[in-house]
């Protein structure tokens, strides 16, 4: 049966997708997508302010704390993009370096990961000092901001190495490079940082929480719906769907987005062309999409 539809409920970037093959629509639904919402916008604006201010000796640093799946990594990528956009507007090179603390966090590896962002291999550290070669590269590139994802991985290291790495970060935030560090991590990472008294005073803490009932969640769902490649509106901001999200599982961004992606795939495979409580309830795992690829 043909469905009568219009595309008024879709964002202009998504309107053309509903005319594509089922496989392509599934892939569109599966793409990572940034939907701005109030909590993130607040943090992003503060981080933008940080980039606009001239550098000071004892740079201001921030840590964004939250449990897994609340969108910390997406947010830090967005902040990186904001930094890039700002640099492009000013017709300058980007002022940030972004790196992720690896699974084997030693000071040498952390320095190696930062150096890799400058296109070279690591320089040997002397104690917890910043290698002078790295100082030169940071200055030459005009880096002001260091974005660190998954800072809680530092806790995997032994106590001595942890102290070295945290002390190295403290040195990075002071002269001669005075980088503003913006890190994301879990509550444990915050505890580790605040246990180091010199670091404690430099870091401002921002928290990303799970979703709660309110206008913000409804606005997020309504915005996300505009990018779902479905021919019919789903009215995701309705009371019953919001209630489902808040009561059925931990309402983190990752959980909600995954449910929406999988429910969209079900709606496409089954031809219902909209998300309803029924397919949303069944979308607790990735659906079998092989038929769309045969």
């Amino acid at each position: 049966m043909d469905i009568t539809y219009n595309d008024d409920h879709l964002h202009k970037e998504a309107k053309h997708v509903i005319h594509l093959e089922k496989r392509e629509r599934i892939e569109f639904a599966n793409q990572a997508r940034w939907i701005n919402h109030q909590a993130c916008a607040l943090i992003r604006n503060r981080m933008k302010s940080l980039t606009l201010l001239p550098q000071i000796d004892e740079a201001l640093c921030c840590i964004i704390v939250g449990e897994g799946g609340v969108g910390k990594s997406s947010l830090i990528r967005r902040i990186a993009k904001d930094c890039n956009n700002l640099a492009q507007r000013k017709m300058e090179g980007s002022i940030h370096v972004e790196f992720r603390v690896g699974a084997d966090p030693t000071l040498v590896n952390v320095i190696g990961a930062i150096c890799e962002k400058f296109g070279t291999s690591g320089f040997n550290p002397r104690k917890d000092d910043i290698p002078p070669e790295l100082v030169l590269l940071i200055r030459a590139r005009g880096i002001k901001i260091l974005l660190i994802d998954e800072i809680q991985h530092v806790l995997v290291a032994n106590r001595t190495e942890q102290k070295k790495i945290l002390s190295f970060f403290k040195n990075l935030s002071g002269p001669p490079v005075s980088l503003s560090i913006i890190a994301t991590g879990t509550q444990e990472a915050l505890n580790a940082i605040t246990s180091e008294s010199p670091l404690k005073s430099r870091f401002q803490v921002f928290e990303l929480l799970r979703w709660t009932d309110g206008e913000e969640l409804r606005a997020f769902l309504a915005s996300y719906e505009q990018f779902l490649p479905l021919k019919l509106p789903s009215n995701l901001a309705s009371q019953e769907i919001v209630h489902f999200f808040l009561t059925s599982f931990d309402p983190t961004t990752r959980q909600i987005v995954n449910r929406l992606k999988w429910a969209t795939m079900l709606a496409l495979l089954e031809g219902t062309e909209k998300i309803e409580l029924d397919n949303l309830t069944r979308a607790n795992h990735i659906p079998d999409i092989t038929e769309a690829y045969l």
Binding site: G93, E116, F118, S121, A140, R141, G142
Partner: protein, 350 residues
């Protein structure tokens, strides 16, 4: 002019293909770069910087762009390119400029040719990482390392150097004019020699390659021929470091073109003089008035008539290939370079 690559991270001006691909791969923002590297390995494409039809097709398919968009990222028709594991030259000025623009530095096409000794943008003599077995990507990484270790110090450009070390840098100046002449010539498939003869670029570079046989020597062999073969070179550090590990097996001969730019400048300057590039000849004439190094250029130093029979080898190889430049090369064996370049020896040097 390079065409824009819509929806793909942009290459830098004059950046070589492999450098662009590896930068894209490292940034992790676009999975197509990883896909391309994977497919190249699958198709046994070892050198991403050779103008290879299959490689360009792969890139065009993956990025859904016309092939023409990629062709400008390759050296001109693979003429006289340094082997992939010897691409250890770089310009510190280009690297620093990339860093200052907030970018990870990239490898440039102009460093990949055997005749390149000076950066056409900054006028610095190209530096060498001094390591064998490096790809373009490794070279950039090592070069940034060395640059940072050296406190981002920039060498003086060639013009300033000339006044300080004229005896040495004169060869670099002449070789740079030869480099510029070739760079202009390879824009088309034909090379127009200053004598008026027009030959295909392929034949020209094959002839140069064969002529350079005379400057090759077996690795670790007795160096008894060296004074003859290299007598035209300025006072220099002899490249005596032995080859390491598995490289020895693959490289029975050492190619002087793979040496550091300042070391190969003498050879290239001589080639410029032999070919008769007007700017090379006129600079040589000026140098000859000031330094005895330049007052008596002799083709015998490049083509020693000794028991190795290099002249015959060169002649035979060119004849076997029906190279139209056989006569030209043969003429070079005994050419009077002083007369060809119009060099007047000052009384002081006679």
């Amino acid at each position: 002019m390079r065409k824009l690559l819509p929806n793909v991270s942009r290459p830098y001006s004059n950046e070589i293909f492999s450098s662009w691909v590896h930068r894209g791969f490292r940034s992790g923002a676009d999975s197509r770069f990883a896909e391309l590297i994977g497919l190249c390995r699958l198709h046994n494409i070892a050198d991403l910087d050779r103008d290879d039809v299959e490689l360009i097709e792969l890139a065009a398919n993956i990025f859904a762009l016309p092939k023409a968009h990629f062709s400008s990222m390759f050296p001109s028709r693979n003429y006289w390119i340094i082997p992939s594991t010897y691409r250890n030259l770089y310009c510190p000025g280009c690297l620093l400029a990339d860093i200052k623009h907030g970018n990870i530095p990239g490898y440039r096409i102009s460093w990949v040719y055997r005749w390149s000794i000076v950066c056409p943008i900054h006028g610095f003599i190209l530096e060498s990482t001094g390591r064998v077995g490096q790809t373009a990507e490794d070279t950039v990484s090592s070069a940034i390392h060395s640059l940072a270790k050296d406190k981002l110090h920039m060498p003086p450009p060639i013009t300033t150097r000339a006044s300080q070390f004229s005896a040495h840098v004169g060869y670099v100046g002449v070789a740079f004019y030869f480099q510029q002449w070739i760079a202009r010539q390879i824009r088309s498939e034909k090379i127009m020699l200053p004598t008026g003869q027009t030959v295909s670029a392929k034949d020209f570079f094959r002839m140069i390659d064969i002529v350079c046989l005379s400057a090759m020597r077996p690795a670790r062999a007795e160096e008894r021929y060296i004074p003859d073969t290299y007598s035209y070179l300025p006072p220099r550090k002899w490249p005596s470091e032995p080859l390491k590990g598995s490289e020895v097996a693959h490289l029975p001969f050492r190619d002087p073109i793979a040496f550091a730019p300042s070391e190969k400048a003498g050879l290239l300057a001589y080639l410029g003089l032999l070919v008769g590039v007007p700017k090379c000849c006129s600079l040589w004439r000026i140098l000859a008035k000031r330094s005895s190094y330049y007052s008596c250029p002799s083709s015998k130093s490049l083509f020693p008539d000794d028991d190795r029979g290099l002249r015959d080898k060169i002649r035979n190889m060119l004849a076997e290939e029906n190279n139209p430049l056989l006569d030209t090369a043969t003429t070079w064996f005994d050419i009077d370079l002083q007369r060809q370049a119009g060099i007047v020896i000052p009384e002081l040097f006679k």
